[in-house]
């Protein structure tokens, strides 16, 4: 049996995957930049200069990858995927006694299970949210 000893930590593996994704993203972008027809598909959300600045700023890119977030540094077009994630504020916190009981410090993240036919019929929704 052949063992492939890579000696990679989980973080290194993730970084490799992200690097591969970004390189693929760059290849697609190069194709779009060089293809006039494809260029029309650009919605104007990215500019070549911005992208190239990012592309050659290896050090910064690596640093941001290490944090697991590099969306601000990578051109948003062409998109590989899109997520919707509301920004979380450090407001509306539970008192520490209640935080442990609820399993979250943030009131906005507590959604108690209430069995009902559908979410909108739940008393939780009808009463304008969970009573804390």
């Amino acid at each position: 049996m052949v063992y492939n000893n890579e000696y990679k930590t989980p973080r290194e593996r993730v970084n490799d995957d992200l690097r591969a994704i970004t390189e693929n993203d760059m290849a697609v972008f190069d194709f779009i930049s060089s293809n006039p027809l494809a260029k029309q598909e650009n919605h104007g959300c990215c500019k070549t200069n911005e992208y190239q600045t990012t592309r050659y700023n290896k050090e910064e890119n690596t640093r941001m990858r290490g944090r697991g977030s590099f969306t601000n540094n990578v051109c948003s077009c062409p998109s590989l995927a899109m997520i919707y994630s509301p920004d979380q504020d450090f407001d509306d916190l539970f008192d520490i006694d209640l935080a442990l009981a609820h399993g979250s410090l943030f009131k906005g993240l507590v959604f108690p299970f209430e069995a009902s036919s559908c979410a909108c019929a739940s008393p939780h929704m009808k009463n304008g949210g969970y009573k804390r």
């Binding site: 979380q88 450090f90 520490i96 935080a99 442990l100 979250s104 410090l105 943030f106």
Partner: protein, 98 residues
């Protein structure tokens, strides 16, 4: 008035949970000054509570041993029921006293 062992342990759990939640938030929002202030405030309270507990009841973890004696082995092991359910330890102790 000195808090009992169970209450102190529960207080440490509450503080540690609040600090941990804040740490997770700060990982994603490292520039949030409000969260950082909250972290400093509750982390200080946590350290204070841990010191107070260890001074009275021995180490909470193997890294909390102080003094000339290895007191870590005197309490319940982390995988034992008493180590994770302080109320039961209190109940057992009260029953033994009776």
């Amino acid at each position: 008035m000195k808090m009992c062992k169970v209450k102190m342990k529960r207080n440490i759990q509450k503080l540690a949970f609040a600090v941990h939640e804040t740490v997770l938030y700060l990982d994603g929002h490292p520039c949030c000054k409000k969260a950082l202030a909250y972290y400093h405030k509750y982390n200080a309270l946590l350290q204070e509570a841990v010191c107070e507990y260890e001074k009275n009841f021995g180490p909470l973890t193997q890294y909390g041993v102080t003094g000339d004696e290895w007191t870590w082995i005197k309490g319940p092991w982390p995988w034992e029921y008493e180590a994770n359910c302080p109320e039961s330890e209190e109940v057992r102790r009260n029953v033994a006293v009776r």
